[in-house]
Amino acid sequence: MTAGPLSGSGRLMGALYRGADSDLAYSFRRNPVVVTAAIVTLLYFFGAAFADWIAPHTPFDPSTLSLGDAEKPPAWIEGGDWSYLLGTDNQGRDIFSTILYGSRLSLIVGFSAVIFSVVLGVGLGVTSGYFGGWYESIVMRAADVQLTLPSILVALMVDGVARAIFAGTDIKTDATFAIYVLIFAIGISAWPQYARVVRSATLVEKSKDYVAAARVIGIPSWRIMLRHVLPNTMGPVLVIGTIDLALAIITEATLSFLGVGIPPTQPSLGTLIRVGQEFLFSGQWWITLFPALALVLLVLAVNLLGDWLRDALNPKLR
């Protein structure tokens, strides 16, 4: 990173131009499936970010609900109403609006959990690879122990213990609290992958001359790790992170579906599916199947992006 003669905006334009001209962008443009997946993902981000403006109804404001509109089927089925595109649930809430708000929660939890596990895993991975010794063995053995159990079980356990700790208090039923617990539980369940990958990449980088040179001229360890080693380990982290985002969204939905995630007062996609499941038997399939479809579409799109990124960043496949 040398400071060139260019001004700030000129550098930005240069970076954008190089970005649009790179191998990555080329392989992106060449692949229609990936472009579709990216558009779908962006639509979800957009819908989640601007749910307050896009959603045709305010499903969680009881004063706007009317039981007269309850259990309406999707608009194109007889008895449907075009102001409720995907139908309504038993309390007259618009399904399309609840899906928008639900996706927002799912994405917030998913993203935060991934960021949490990246920070934790990359931090532990870089430091353990760089310093080595007993610290490294403790971190890596901890990763081994955790990898013995599937991540969903770890997330469930952490979630359960957090619930047990706060069992007596009234914050347990609070939706915001549930969100923090979920982010923590899902984040904790995924750190070992990052730690392993980053540690082995750090071991490789550490033995190279530029790190030795940096050390010789007296740059402090934290700065070498942060500015020199870390940027060279980011490729695989980006790939794992994308695939992990899909997994985190699934895990959040699963925990909420199991009834130990986000409470129904402010439902995520998983909660919506859980709450709607009982109406499946009385014929109101849209209450649960549309949120399920929304979840599957989101996960599929993110998964496709992750797969493409893995192949595109893999030099062996170029």
Partner: protein, 329 residues
């Protein structure tokens, strides 16, 4: 080989001790066990007496050793929620889970290997393409969504199969079996498919990839040149040589099946250990959670160990230089 074996066993015991420690910490420090056992009106002396009687005043190390000893005897205390011994509850629920895992493992293996061989042999047929595309979508479907879809199709719309419970069970000693009655078999179909579908896709892709690899080798060409029947070549030579990685992955996947049975059991209200565990998490029932954690860890460590040892037994290269990382589930 011997040092490898000893190494792996020691490693496994280490993992179990760590998990036991976690489980012990959950038992003893999450919420106050005394508060959970006595009523509101208990006096301070009563509490102190109970504390003494339960051994909560002993040193932490003594308590931990006692905990491990009790756990080894299958003793995990009393469930807060059901007011019954956790060991009894788990024993009651275990047959349901094991039968479900067993049936879905068989389903995943049979269908996975069958479809894997077919898609490997007939790479370009439309059926192969269809199977592969479907399996790609299948990987993106969360377990509970698969369950809900199956319920909607086969229970609600077609009304062919039951959507919850185990059907009629027959008591064999202490084992409640659902596999001996017609309604039991009908009831297990949907949960077993739901649970096994993900494993099926993994095995399918693995077998297909291995078949494609093996079919290119010289000894397959030679077998064909010798004029052996297609069947002997495809199954006697090719399939047989794909089995080593399949055994490994399939073994590890059984562990995953146990974990994911929690979700399937919730969708289908299947009265197994997973449902018990979820109820434990929901009601902050610490003894059930701790016991399940320990049991699950034992199951996973045992499966990992067996798979690693099997692998070493099958693959001679590993017997010589045996320094592999821990198998992951």
């Amino acid at each position: 080989m011997f040092s490898y074996l000893v190494n792996r066993v020691i490693q496994s015991i280490g993992v179990l001790l760590v998990v036991a420690l976690l489980s012990f910490v959950i038992f003893n420090y999450v919420g106050d066990p005394i508060n959970n056992m006595v009523g509101q009106e208990a006096t301070l002396e009563d509490r102190e007496e109970l504390r003494e009687r339960l051994g909560l005043n002993d040193s932490v190390i003594v308590q931990f050793l006692r905990f491990v000893g009790n756990a080894a005897e299958g003793e995990f205390g009393i469930s807060y929620q059901f007011q019954r011994k956790v060991s009894d509850l788990i024993l009651e629920r275990m047959p349901a889970t094991l039968e479900l895992v067993f049936v879905s493992a068989i389903f995943a293996l049979a269908a996975g290997i069958g479809l894997g061989v077919y898609t490997g042999l007939r790479r370009d047929s439309w059926l192969s393409r269809f199977v592969l595309t479907t399996s790609l979508i299948g990987v993106s479907l969360p377990t509970f969504v698969i369950g809900i879809l199956l319920i909607y199709i086969f229970s609600v719309t077609l009304e062919w199969l039951p959507s919850f419970g185990r059907g009629d069970t027959v008591r064999l000693g202490s084992w409640d079996s659902g596999l001996l009655t017609g309604s039991g078999w009908l009831a297990i179909i949907l949960p077993a498919i739901t649970l096994g579908l993900f494993q099926l896709t993994i095995i399918l892709r693995l077998v297909r990839a291995e078949m494609l690899e093996v079919l290119r080798t010289d000894y397959i060409k030679f077998a064909r040149a010798r004029g052996l029947s297609r069947r002997a070549v495809n199954f006697g030579h090719a399939l047989k040589n794909t089995m080593v990685p399949v055994i490994t992955i399939a073994g590890l996947q059984i562990g995953t099946l146990i974990a994911f049975s929690i979700i399937t059991e919730t969708v289908f209200q299947w009265p197994g250990m997973g449902l018990l565990f979820i109820q434990g998490v929901e009601f902050a029932d610490v003894p059930i959670m701790g016991a399940y954690l320990l049991l699950a860890a034992i199951a996973f460590v045992a499966i990992n160990l067996i798979v690693d040892l099997l692998y070493a037994a099958v693959d001679p290269r590993l017997r010589v230089s045996a320094q592999r990382g821990t198998g992951t589930a």
